[in-house]
Structure formats: C-alpha cells, structure tokens
Symmetry: C2
Subunit: 245 residues, 2 copies
Amino acid sequence: MPDPVPLPDEIALLWGRRESARRGPKAMLSVDEIVRAAVTVADADGLAAVSMAKVAAELGKSTMALYRHVRSKDELLMLMGDAALADPPDLSGMDWRTGLTTWALSILATLHEHGWFAQLPVNGPPIGPNNLAWFDSALGALTDTPLAELQKVGIVQNLITFVHGEMRLGRDLQRSYDRDPDRFGPDYGRALAELIDPVRFPALSRVVSSGAFSGPEMIGQDLEEDFRFGLELYLDGVEAFMRRS
Amino acid sequence: MPDPVPLPDEIALLWGRRESARRGPKAMLSVDEIVRAAVTVADADGLAAVSMAKVAAELGKSTMALYRHVRSKDELLMLMGDAALADPPDLSGMDWRTGLTTWALSILATLHEHGWFAQLPVNGPPIGPNNLAWFDSALGALTDTPLAELQKVGIVQNLITFVHGEMRLGRDLQRSYDRDPDRFGPDYGRALAELIDPVRFPALSRVVSSGAFSGPEMIGQDLEEDFRFGLELYLDGVEAFMRRS
DNA sequence: CCTTCACTGCGTATGTCGTACGCTAGTGAG
DNA sequence: CTCACTAGCGTACGACATACGCAGTGAAGG
C-alpha cells in the first residue's frame, strides 16, 4: 500500500478530506454549512456583503467560530467557487458541437444564479471536484473526435477562457444595469455621442452614426445572443481545424 | 448653440472635463497625479494594496486630501481602469486578420504591465477615452471588410470578451504561479492524479494518463501559445463568416 | 471509574480600511 | 478690504479580518 495521499491540505479541504477530530466536543459547525451560508449571503447581497461576521450571523454563531473550520476568508472564497458549480449537464449522445454548445450555455446559466462568481479571486488552477467535473464534461464532448488529447485540452481551455470573459463583462454589465438603468439611457448615449470625435475615433464614430448604439441593446437577451454568435464563430474555427487535421 | 453638454459627471471626470474651481487656494493635487500614484502602488504591490491612505502617502499628502478630487475609491478605481490602457497600436496597412491579431496581443501585453486590471470591478460599459480608443482601433481593423457595422461590433465585442477571459485566467494564474510555484509542482500533480477517479472523470483521466498534465506546462509561454491557438480558431470562424456573407 | 488534554466555540483586542464632518487658512471676485 | 468659497487635513466612527487566550467538553488511556 502506497503512502496514504500527502494531499496539500487546501485540496484536502476542497475534497472534504481534512481529517476530522477524534477528541473534544462534537463540532456544531461543518465546513459545508459554512460554505452554504456564505453562498446564501453572496446570492442575496453580493460578494462584497460576505464577511466572516455576516456568515457567522447567518448560522447563529460567533464570528470566530468559523476559523476553527476554515483557515482564512480566502479559503472560504475558494470553497465557494467550487460550491457554486452544480453538476455538469449530461452530454452523452450529442455530437461534439451540440455538446460544447450545451455545455457553454449550461455553465453560463449556472453562474447566472451566482453572479458573484466572476469576482472571486483566482488563486490557482481550478482544482475542486465540481470544477474538474465540468472540465471532464467538456472534454467528454470531444471524445469521439480525431483530436489529440492535448488539442482537446487547448480547445476546452479556450472555451473556458471565453466563458469567463462573458461572465466578467456580460454578467457584470447586467448587474450594473439592474442597479442603475440611467447609465444606459438615451441621455447617456447622447452625451457620449458628443465625445466621440470623428477624427479621433473614425471607426467608432461610423458605428454610432449608423445607429447601432442608440439604446440599451447591448444588454439582456441581446447579450446572450451576442455570446452565442461568438461561440458559433469559435466552434466554426474548431470544426475547420478538425477537418484540417 | 445647443446646451453645453450635460455630461454625467462621472464621464466628465473620466474625460478631464470636471469644471475647475474659480476661487480658493490653488490645488496642490490633481486627479491625474492621484491616478498615477494609485497605478504606481497597484503595479508595485497589487490592487489590494491600493488604499486611500497609501495613495496619499505616495504623494506626501494626507488621506482626506484625495477626496477633494475624487468622490470615492470606486471612482478612483474607474479612473485607474482607463489610465491602465496606453495608446492602441497603429493597425493601418494591415489586413483585418493581422490587425485583429496584433490588437489582441497588444492589449494583452499592455495589461500584463498592470496585472491588477482584471480585478477591477466592472460598474458599467467602458466609456473612458482610452477604452474607446482601443475599441475604435479594433473596429478600424474591420473597415475594409464587407461586414455590416453591427456585425463588426459583435465580432469585436466577442474578441474583447475572449481577451478579458484570458486576463482573468491566464494572468491571474501566472501571478499565483510566481507567488507559489509549489502549487504547480510534481507533488501537486501526483496528488491530483490520485483524486481523478477514472469512473467519475473518464475524459479527464484519459488526458492525465496520456501525460498531458505532468508538469507546469499550462503556465508561462505555453499560456500565450494557448491563447494564440484559441484566437486563430476564432478568427478562422470570422473568416468563414465573412465568406458566407 | 477517573484523569488527561486535544478540541470547539467564543470574547477581547489590534490594526486597517473607507469616509462623514468640521476646522483652518489661503484666494480671488466684488 | 471683505468675505464666500476652496484646498488640505485632523478626528472620529463603524466595518472588517484575524491573533490570542480562556472555558468548557468529552473521547482516549489508565
């Protein structure tokens, strides 16, 4: 029998394998409960509202009690990042393209319920069980293609990159729109139009005067449509690449 | 003569058009200086180290002096976001594909010098002069193509989405690698390999056992190469779309 | 059974943060 | 000259993360 897994303890925590205590009083708190409470707070009031005090209050415990189960707030945020990802969709039976499309839209939908996800600090490669499950799911969609394993990884990783960009821009824009729709109103657009000097910004000016920017059409469903458009373009590229191979 | 631009004052600030005072002592501080100092602090010690106190200390002034020029820290962060973007590259004379590739790599290079950019909160559509200059630059690369203006916007916006994803994942990974290379070392990989159950993660397991994940090859130049690969795929898709039109 | 002591939960304290408020002193319009 | 207005700043407050140490609990070892 080999050594019993010298897991870096951060990973052990992520996978629920931190050794539990053998002595002392029964724990009234668990890491799972804490993470769930933190997610609840974040869903309700945003990531900025997640403080150790608020999370503890949500559980009816004192602030410092959390530190027995979680080494720091950063660690809690890391756990939240994995917990936000529910199970990936079942892609079996789909061709690779339908599979990846379904996958991308699913992860966006999942993260739409946890709008704070995009604001989590990235402190290392995603390594939690749910994260890996999603990664596996996307790779699985490419199983029956003639690509080399390394190429599959590259293609999926770029897809993830694209999705993260969408989260950062699209979702955050959506949130700021909900908070203050005036920023997207006609007053704003008109004020902006005066700033866009046709000499300094020729191409942009052409777009604006063509009427493409007159209203809040960069928001809401148009945003998802835009994402689908980009996704299609990317997958067209992947398809061409596969034919070339 | 029409009304003299009722600019939302946040935008006025961004464009350096906040009306200056007519009475009172000469200002010893300017918005520009403050933003420059904040960027200096962020470049040196990261975005988390940017506090009003530190920025003021950098300028040899007291904390509260900053608030005469900047309404809040959020406003300062917004200004930093625009200031981080230097001038876009000159793409004239390039075909659209070379132009967009140059553009994407340039913006990544620019933001590499300001690694904190990806962590700035997104509070609205990018609207600062430098931001618009980059947007205009990318649109300009598509001038001589047969696309409709709205399609150009969509293509550029998706490219921006992709670049933002790269910033979030790639650059932050790079940073965390620099801080703690052990997290990418062989110990880590071996520990991870034990967690990847072939039944639960079939596709991922296949990749790992094919040796694609043995080392820190997702980092550094391989990361940029990966980005280029994804960019090529996307642009292939754009090219096909243009032929179809 | 009793002792031991690792462990949980929590109260207190420290240092940092953003920023509201009001003061002082300098300035230019009247 | 006057004085409304302004820049910079000192103080204060509430929120935050978290180090530290204490008190009580209950399984392990005798």
